[in-house]
């Protein structure tokens, strides 16, 4: 047996195979959220995701921003299924050095700000002593809508995203390496790392309108998310648009980087990546615009199970890689 640590996806797979399945689960293991059918038409939706200092809190991020981000990470998964978070639980693990009034208050205020920003409340939690900062968030919500799974894309569906990519990937490079950017550009890119936003309004509008055939958030990177939709739905995707943020493109040009790398393989993005039946496209656009968002078509689902990008006449393979705990290096 190899002594290399397993990757996150392999660990999750191993755990899933050892768990007894609850009968009639409306969402399979491994999708963005978990769900339980209550009596009547109500579905309870649950999510847990853990923020860890060493991997999720980049250099210079305040404790306030880290705590807020712990909430955003979870809300983003709810957004991808169109679920409004009713309540938040927060289990906080603190190293002794952070068990001070100043630090604790900053974390509490970050949790509260994150919750209130998405219309929800922290209703309970737990505190422990840990080696790293650990903020483990759980969300609870309900819906009577059908939940769009990762597996619902069909050949011909339009692949779309709720925003342009690359800013967090560029911002992270600025924080960790020796890169150039004007102070204005730097501020925008670093802010994308420190203050991510979940696309909750967009998710609620699109899923509430029944416009989404498959959906996932992009926290592990756009490429990884598209591959996950591909694998779960049994379709491929042909992309003809690279949804690059202007600031990310500017950063790439100034630093001799490939914007494709920033957009596809960056991670730490909280856009929604979803598919829409062509007949629903107009309605989807209208619904997203009504909440002040945008929906950018970037390609379509195809029969051939591969993910490729046509860009300036060239066709590239989109690789199934992105951020993965235990394997990726910060």
């Amino acid at each position: 047996m190899s002594n290399n640590p397993l990757g996150e996806h392999e660990i999750i797979r191993l755990i899933q195979t050892r768990l007894s399945s609850m009968p009639d689960m409306p969402v399979p293991f491994g999708d963005d959220v978990s769900a339980i059918t209550l009596e009547g038409t109500q579905t309870v939706v649950l999510k847990t995701d853990m923020l860890v200092g060493r991997t999720d809190v980049p250099k210079g991020m305040s404790l306030f921003a880290a705590a807020r981000k712990a909430i955003v990470m979870n809300v983003s998964d709810f957004a991808s299924k169109g679920i409004c978070p009713t309540a938040v639980l927060a289990a906080v693990g603190l190293p002794k050095a952070l068990a001070t009034e100043v630090s604790v208050v900053e974390i509490a205020e970050g949790l509260n700000a994150g919750a209130r920003e998405y219309g929800t409340y922290v209703v309970g939690g737990d505190t422990n002593e840990t080696g790293d900062l650990v903020i483990s968030i759980s969300l609870f919500g309900t819906t009577s809508n059908r939940l769009p799974l990762r597996s619902g894309a069909r050949v011909g569906d339009i692949l779309a995203v709720t925003g342009r990519f690359g800013k967090p990937a560029a911002g992270l490079r600025l924080l960790l390496g020796d890169y150039k950017a004007s102070s204005e550009l730097r501020e925008v890119l670093v802010d994308a790392v420190y203050s991510p936003k979940a696309r909750l309004q967009e998710g609620l509008a699109l899923c509430g309108g029944g416009c989404v055939s498959a959906s996932i958030d992009s926290s592990d990177g756009l490429a990884w998310s598209i591959h996950e939709l591909s694998q779960q739905s049994g379709v491929g995707f042909l992309l003809d648009v690279l949804p690059v943020a202007v600031e990310a493109e500017e950063f790439a040009v100034q630093n001799g980087l490939d914007p494709v790398e920033l957009v596809l393989y960056g991670g730490e993005e909280y856009e929604l990546v979803l598919t829409v039946r062509p007949s629903m496209w107009g309605e989807a656009q209208t619904l997203v615009q009504a909440v002040g968002g945008c929906l950018i078509p970037i390609g379509k689902a195809i029969d051939k199970k591969q993910v490729r990008l046509i860009l300036g006449g060239e066709e590239l393979t989109v690789e199934p890689r992105g951020w993965e705990h235990f394997k990726s290096q910060v």
Copy 2:
């Protein structure tokens, strides 16, 4: 400002004061569980509690036992309010050294065993890389019963526990220090540390029957739990029975220890500590016995806000101390 780390209770208090309160919360911050009123008479009950390697996993405890214990810790809080756990979420933080197939499978099997033991299922989770082993569990359940709070005890109520105390405290001393015990005794005491049980059946029976005026679990120690009931309910307690397990008494005698210390201040116990109106006592006994449990009366609620124990003609003060993260030493 002092540089000493704050204690867990002070941290929780600081966090609570910074959180916006959800309107009409049926359970106040700081009780064993959190709750939300859904439409109709249904109450949703939520709980999160984090197991951390350095403080919650004593020497020699297997990963299977640690993962199972993470579930038991949470189920015990549900038990204290008479709530059946419908579903479990598990966020697991692993040090790189534990990201191996053998370790991951052991953790998954421990999680599954813990969930199935209490009739529930792990429906989702998350995996991350951390410095310590961290298993953050969240539970979801529903009820149409009134939830017994920590604040419901009234003068004259009978104070009772669902079992005898002291075995985990003795077992922990055996694991960490130089103490004597026969191999049979050692096995019983260490097993109490490695394989704690939550009193779910007892909690469901008692709360389902409406017999409980106030309730808490005893994970931070019996003395601390009684003081918490005292403080939240605005009553004192006079104890006239020390509910000591025979094995804990035997261990105390053999090692020249005070059984009072083991019983009151041990912690890591998962008995329920509750109050019952005298008029409901017979019914409470019947209900607990029907599920194979026991209910031991140990004292009564009094007007004077102090907690005292009469033992062999002597009256002792029960101190408000127990296990507290950041302050207590393993």
